[in-house]
């Protein structure tokens, strides 16, 4: 049986502008992925619980208003929950200086404005396969 990549598309924090995350969710769906879409205003604990229950390969976080600064905390929480194999990507408005610190916190990829559908779909697909290989052990 085929195993489509499973992706959680979410927003953390107080910003409710979710059009971007919806568009990306539709891109991933159209590329044959199964996308759990949560809507905005999730807490870090919520995202960890959702990722656990849904056993996703990649978490995509949309950030337009500095919510990306919460991502190092999300990375810690994922590792603490034994979900270190999950790849985390962020898309939206992320200043270059922040992108560097996110990378060192373990965020796999930052999609800046201007990223194409092909960039996003290709990278997320690759990361999902990588994550699933790392999650093969039960």
């Amino acid at each position: 049986m085929s195993q489509p990549p499973k992706i959680l598309v979410t927003k953390i924090g107080f910003d409710g502008h979710d059009r971007g995350s919806r568009i990306v969710a539709a891109y991933l769906r159209d590329a044959g992925m199964e996308v759990v879409y949560t809507g905005p205003w999730q807490s870090i604990d919520d995202v960890v619980t959702l990722a656990t229950q849904e056993d996703v390969d990649v978490i995509g976080v949309s950030s337009l208003a500095t919510d990306h600064l919460l991502l190092p905390k999300l990375m810690d929480a994922l590792r603490a929950a034994d979900l270190g194999h999950i790849k985390v990507v962020v898309g939206g408005i992320v200043p270059d200086a922040d992108a560097e610190s996110l990378a060192s916190a373990g965020v796999a990829r930052v999609f800046h404005p201007g990223s194409t559908r092909e960039d996003i779909v290709g990278d997320v697909g690759d990361l999902a396969r990588e994550a699933r290989a790392g999650n093969a052990v039960a």
């Binding site: 049986m1 159209d30 590329a31 044959g32 199964e34 959702l50 056993d55 039960a138």
Partner: protein, 320 residues
């Protein structure tokens, strides 16, 4: 991986699943959903533990309020201290295979409750309102010790009645103002209901929909089982206590024999599915031109389709 199914050789995942650990439950569902190499042992190992959960199925047209109603229902079930598993199925694209799984958007108030486990499944080309492995996923939740497993089908039309074979209590949700009283007496989805719910009961047409459904029920045979018609407004948590009462009553009404018969039917269905899958795999493995020859004979009118199918089966090596 061929390990004898003795307790000592149990894979840790199975043990952790039977202890009800959340991460193990999630991983076990993935194994079963994707039919990985762990799946056969897991499914074998959980069999003796099955049949304890009450499986409650929710079906109805898109937008009737299934997810919202399930959300209110979970709150009431938790107030009654039941552990809840939810299987929420959304459609896969027939073109790309992709899916947006959005049922949990309406269930966020329960995310932090460790006794509530929600899993979204894509239908993956399966017709009938569920996914190819939904029945197995329900079994895994049962084995993990959930008291109630709530199953939400894809938004269903008139014939997505597969849930009837899987659930102990079948609930069909309608919204006010859809269709007329002739539609209500058509065969299909309404017939499978143990409980009929008119959700969005705060809308103007609700009373009329309730009375149409009651009229439909009155036209059934005299010995037909009693089907309550309940009005709910899920967004305001109205009518939910009555709904949970009705569900629990139905759950108790089912006798041990009835439940055993239903369990046997479920296993029969799983066996039939697995056998069909193997057959399809065997047929795909026939690459010596036999199939093309049979097809041409059919096209020329020399052979009936049924006879050709018989010959193809005769060619297959059906052993172990």
């Amino acid at each position: 991986m061929s390990v004898e199914a003795s307790p000592a050789a149990r894979p840790p995942l199975l043990e952790r699943l039977l202890e009800g650990q959340t991460v193990a439950l999630a991983k076990a569902i993935t194994a079963v959903e994707n039919d990985t190499e762990l799946a056969p042992e897991l499914l074998q190992g959980i069999q003796p533990r099955l049949g304890r959960a009450l499986v409650v199925g929710f079906t109805g047209p898109p937008g009737a309020g299934k997810s919202t109603l399930v959300n209110s229902l979970i709150a009431e079930l938790r107030a009654r201290e039941r552990g809840v598993g939810v299987v929420a199925v959304d459609p896969s694209s027939p073109l790309t295979g992709g899916a947006i799984l959005g049922d949990r958007i309406r269930m966020t108030q329960h995310t932090r409750d460790p006794e509530v486990f929600v899993r979204s499944l894509a239908s993956r080309g399966h017709l009938g309102g569920l996914s190819p492995t939904a029945a197995r996923v329900i079994d895994v939740m049962d084995a993990a010790g959930k008291d109630i497993v709530v199953v939400e089908t894809v938004g269903a039309g008139q014939s997505e009645v597969e849930i009837a074979e899987i659930a102990d209590v079948r609930i069909v949700i309608c919204a006010p103002g859809l269709g007329d009283d002739v539609q209500a007496i058509k065969a299909g989805i309404l017939e499978i209901a143990d409980i009929l719910v008119v959700n969005k009961a705060d809308l103007p047409m609700a009373d009329r929909t309730v009375s149409q459904l009651k009229n439909m029920l009155a036209l059934r045979a005299e010995n037909a089982p009693d089907v309550p018609v309940l009005a709910t407004t899920a967004t305001k948590d109205e009518g939910i206590t009555e709904l949970v009462d009705a569900i629990e009553e139905r759950g108790h009404v089912a006798s041990d024999e009835e439940r055993a018969a239903r369990a046997l039917k479920r296993v029969q269905r799983l066996l039939a599915e697995a056998t069909g899958q193997r057959l399809r795999r065997l047929i795909r493995g026939v690459d010596d031109g036999t199939i093309d020859d049979l097809c041409r004979s059919i096209q020329r009118g020399e052979l009936s389709i049924d006879a050709a199918a018989g010959r193809l089966l005769g060619k297959l090596d059906l052993g172990e």
